[in-house]
Symmetry: C2
Subunit: 395 residues, 2 copies
């Protein structure tokens, strides 16, 4: 009796649930410290102390009727939106105003809001494999059609020749995610420039507008001083979806924002549509206390040295064992080549060693597996001998 | 370039925005204390002191990684869901378990989750006028078709004869909202029993399942000791959408829950679908701090004596002036008959006296206006002489 669209999704989610329950089963049997769960992107570095301080201060000082009330605009508190715009302008030399900012229920909420605002049934949404699998559902929510660009498994930068060929008059949006989940790769400035040139050209050719949606939950998680280009500066029709889930370790609180710059085609209408979509999709407004908290903490950052140490340790450890993997420059994932073509088999074998990892098929890139290293350092250290045993099975 | 569906909605929302800006303009011109804004359902009684205390305690005591992290299940923290189930069982003699509870981003989030879970394109969703206008958008999000039952303007109880006739093999859901926005009427036990009987009969006749969705943001706002029947006890296929927005004055924080009882057809699958829908619609999970807060405050209540005094004062004041209105037993709205058939004209005339009210057309019931009395008591006292002047125009 449930909706037909949901039937398949419930079936798929049972698979994820089964994996989660397998982790619990293993933990109960062998002890949690002997299970090496690299399956989830749940930050394990606590929110900065300033976040807790800000929450308590705001709760102590602000009028609860205003603080916990509906915001006047569904896009959020005016002062918060202005502060976000100011902060971006200072960091990236952009020129945003509060009208360009819509506070959202995390990046997932923001992506739904912008896709609801843009898509007509049958519109195409281009993604570069490997990509966050939820994009499929987000596009499908509005009857959009996902068009996949196959992965360049040398560099994991977007394959731009294939991209150019697959753009069509029905292309309404392109989603990029850099630093990338699942590879940790940061798209280079050169990549972004070429991508922008192709989009400009195809817009002209088709007489359409193609919106580039930059999904940026991992923006602040970049290592070795690598620069993550700010995409609105390269292509006018760019919308940014940001989340504080990872930058402030607040994933459960559901707080982020959309940037829809004035330069975007139909900007005023699109901002108005995002406002309405926020309301009618049932978000109504981003959680109000958290709006005030992120305003107070725009200059705070999570301790990325923790993730960095994990990155080096897991990457170097796996390379020494003979695994193939590109070194991630951002996020907290390692995308490792499966030693056998069927990476699901590899994931199953890993389970024998109490190692939980996710098949690349979930990201449109079979033959690889994702390991989330947002775990305790000890988990990595203790997992490496198990990885060694696992590697031996494939020699 | 925005989505076609959104074009109209953006146009409509401009009208609401214009009204809001009119309020600001009037306030700037005449002083906020001389503007009588009865247009918004934003609670003006602060959250109970216990809520603030709970927030600060939880922030001080709980591990931030868990407190602000993703919940293991998209349906929410297991302990919170169990506490909600226990509390309902104690209050209403029901028999819910944690598996029947999905924590949601308010009632608006919950309604979207359940409609996403249930509807196929073209499925009919029955509503009783007058009704909360957002239902139209929520159903449309999933290509559902709203079927309106015309209002019984004597009692504002559902017109059950028309209801029975308009049910069809395509009816997938019926939404009721009691205490009602915009009338304040509580559907009587007799009404609920008859409604259940009709639904049972029609399910049998059509060989279908018809889900009754009880939207309950105003459950705790009932006056004069009136009982608000708990609908799962009258009809097996009942799903409840609840919100803490009004009961704890936390509308901006976006916290509520869905109840999908075991008795509901396909209950297990529907609970699984609600879980998935929570994820893919971009909610991911209800805000985690607020989940813990409502668990700690399940026995707290907002001070409804404040709304009650407003209700009596505005209702009696308007009746004395000759306005026609049913006395509300719940919520914080008065639904007043317009002295002229075109109630939009009446709303415009009211503006001359700095009185802001909402046309009944927004609720599928032209000829009436909604006044939200969740305002300062003084606003009502000071507005009454203005209402007297307004009444004089129509004598």
């Amino acid at each position: 009796m449930i909706s037909k669209k949901m039937e398949n999704m419930v079936a798929n989610s049972s698979a994820i649930r089964a994996m989660f329950e397998e982790g619990n089963r293993l933990a109960a049997k062998y002890g949690a410290e002997n299970v090496f769960d690299f399956s989830l992107g749940n930050p394990n570095v606590p929110a900065p102390e300033a976040v807790k301080k800000a929450m308590i201060e705001i709760l102590s000082e602000e009028d609860p009727i205003v603080l916990h009330g509906y915001t006047n605009s569904n896009a959020g508190y005016e002062d918060v939106r202005q502060a976000v715009a100011d902060s971006l302008n200072e960091r990236f030399g952009t020129n945003f105003a509060s009208r360009n900012i819509t506070m959202t229920v995390g990046a997932a909420g923001g992506l739904n809001v912008i896709l609801k605002s843009l898509l007509n049934p049958g519109d195409e949404v281009v993604v570069f494999a490997p990509y966050f699998g939820e994009y499929r559902s987000y596009a499908d929510n509005y009857d959009g059609v996902i068009v996949e660009i196959s992965p360049d498994t040398e560099t994991f930068q977007p394959k731009l020749d294939e991209f150019e060929k697959k753009l069509s008059p029905k292309t309404k949006a392109v989603i990029v995610n850099t630093p990338n989940n699942p590879t940790g790769v940061v798209y280079s400035e050169e990549t972004i420039q070429k991508l922008a040139t192709i989009l400009e050209k195809k817009q002209k050719e088709f007489g359409t507008e193609i919106y580039l949606i930059s999904d940026e939950p991992y923006r602040e998680l970049a290592y070795d001083g690598v620069e993550v280009p700010y995409l609105t500066k390269y292509y006018a029709n760019t919308v940014v979806g940001y989340s504080f889930s990872k930058s402030l370790s607040l994933p459960g609180e559901r707080i982020g924002y959309l940037v829809i710059p004035d330069e975007v085609a139909d900007s005023e209408k699109l901002n108005a549509a995002a406002n309405v979509a926020t309301r009618i999709l049932g978000f109504v407004n981003a959680p109000t206390l958290q709006q005030k908290v992120v305003k107070a903490c725009l200059n705070e950052k999570t301790d990325i040295s923790y993730y960095d140490r994990n990155r080096e340790t897991l990457y170097n450890g796996l390379k020494e064992l003979g695994f193939e993997c590109i070194k991630p420059e951002g996020a907290f994932y390692l995308f490792v080549k499966s030693p056998v073509a069927d990476e699901k088999e590899f994931c199953n074998t890993a389970k024998k060693y109490n190692i939980l990892i996710v098949p690349g098929s979930s990201f449109g890139c079979p033959g690889y597996v994702r390991m989330a290293y947002c775990v305790a350092y000890e988990t990595i250290v203790n997992a490496l001998p198990k990885f060694a045993e696992l590697a031996r099975e494939y020699r």
